[in-house]
Symmetry: C3
Subunit: 189 residues, 3 copies
């Protein structure tokens, strides 16, 4: 009796542990929010305004009935859709070597204030990173920081998920915007 008891206890303990793990696996609730990867980049958006065709990295391609594709519309640009292909740099200097391209679109989507909806990718093809990160989400761009979702990745970022915290690092009028992207991945493969 006394010989069996510790084993029985251990078995009991083991079953409790396994049950706990099994439950966790099914509900997909997660522990502390520790990123498995952390990256910071800058990207640089120069919007075409009818006069800067050579430097522009972005252009209006959709506009509401009261707007056009040369100049951003009134009412906080509501309805303007912009396509971009922006250089990504490691620091906040537009002229630093590009480590990739930020490619996709944003749509100004509110009349009362500047907000946008973003769908874009970071496409890397450098010695350091190869592959892409895909993003989507709301960008209330008057906020100091705003979070969008990392919805997937390829290559070095295979199956990644996480959060990108965007902030406007600098801007000049309505032509140049420099954005800082603080990317925290919480799912890494």
């Amino acid at each position: 009796m006394s010989r069996k008891s510790p084993i029985t206890n251990l078995l009991f303990l083991l079953l409790i542990f396994l049950f706990a793990f099994s439950a966790a696996a099914k509900s997909r609730s997660h522990g502390p929010r520790r990123p498995c990867r952390h990256l910071v980049f800058y990207f640089h958006d120069i919007i075409y305004n009818g006069e800067n065709a050579e430097n522009a990295t972005a252009a209006i391609v959709g506009a509401p009935a009261w707007g056009n594709t040369t100049i951003l519309a009134g009412q906080n640009h509501f309805g303007d859709m912009v396509v971009f292909d922006d250089p990504i740099t490691m620091d906040n200097n537009l002229h630093s070597p590009a480590v990739g391209r930020a490619q996709g679109f944003y749509i100004y989507d509110r009349k009362e204030i500047f907000t946008a909806w973003l769908g874009f990718s970071f496409v890397f093809n450098s010695t350091e990173h190869r592959g892409s990160l895909n993003f989507a989400g709301a960008d209330p761009l008057m906020n100091k920081t705003r979070d969008v979702s990392v919805i997937g990745g390829t290559g070095d970022f295979f199956m990644a998920r996480g959060i990108a915290t965007l902030s406007t690092d600098s801007f000049e009028g309505e032509v140049y915007f420099r954005l800082r992207a603080d990317i925290k991945l919480y799912e890494c493969w």
Copy 2:
């Protein structure tokens, strides 16, 4: 011999359990589909039609060669792209207090029947919810219900994934649409 045997058995059992868990972790197959969070909202889309500038929450910003940005095009609006910033309410009353904004776009994408592709976010900034849910997917809008993906979330909805079942709760002509979103999250952090 008889003393060692139970421990050996237990060890053997343990290894089988651990192996099973290890296999499960690698293939990411999942157990029963129990949502870890369930939310229901309504949102209200009023499309600009040239006469309702004050009330409109949405506007056509892209159209095919045979269309324009004031009136929805023929052929089931194929090619019309609409940007929206719709109030979200807890019940089906347009005049209830908004708990957030549904912001993004849809594109009518079929000539033979009404279907659309949706990319949008629910942006919450109330006492109850803070943060955003991001959605993408096909919306065959003549179906009673249709499922789109919750592709990510931020704030209170950090890293969320799930399914949103949309249904057209009411509509008036081609101007007002009230959608019910039944959101089931299956990944919660």
Copy 3:
């Protein structure tokens, strides 16, 4: 003493194992990349060019200031946004029975070379597959193969995630494109 020792050892071993699992669960690092599902499809894109209204499955709906919605713009079509509703077939024959529709949009997003950003769904409603797969990502379409993310799924593809490798199987001028989609899902429910 000698009787207790093996149990103590076993308990110690058990704790190490459980600790290892616990750590793995929190960081969401994953083992070998074995797909839980593998699918191959073809889809067929016929872009409206002003003369093929009957056959066209896609149309330009957004264009930059220097372009229009009838003919793809210069500078590698930068800024052209195309909406599509393409038949999906099991083999590379446009006239094979369609098993679903590829619905969504792409935007040409670079001046120097052909690249695009894709947001679309595969919508299935056949005896074999019911439900949808949602995709997003960068498509550097001059590359032999390029990877986009499977960001979610519904129905038979409930909560799916993975990678779709696209390749241009054939094309005719700037009107017909046949794409091969090699879909590997790494998260299946």
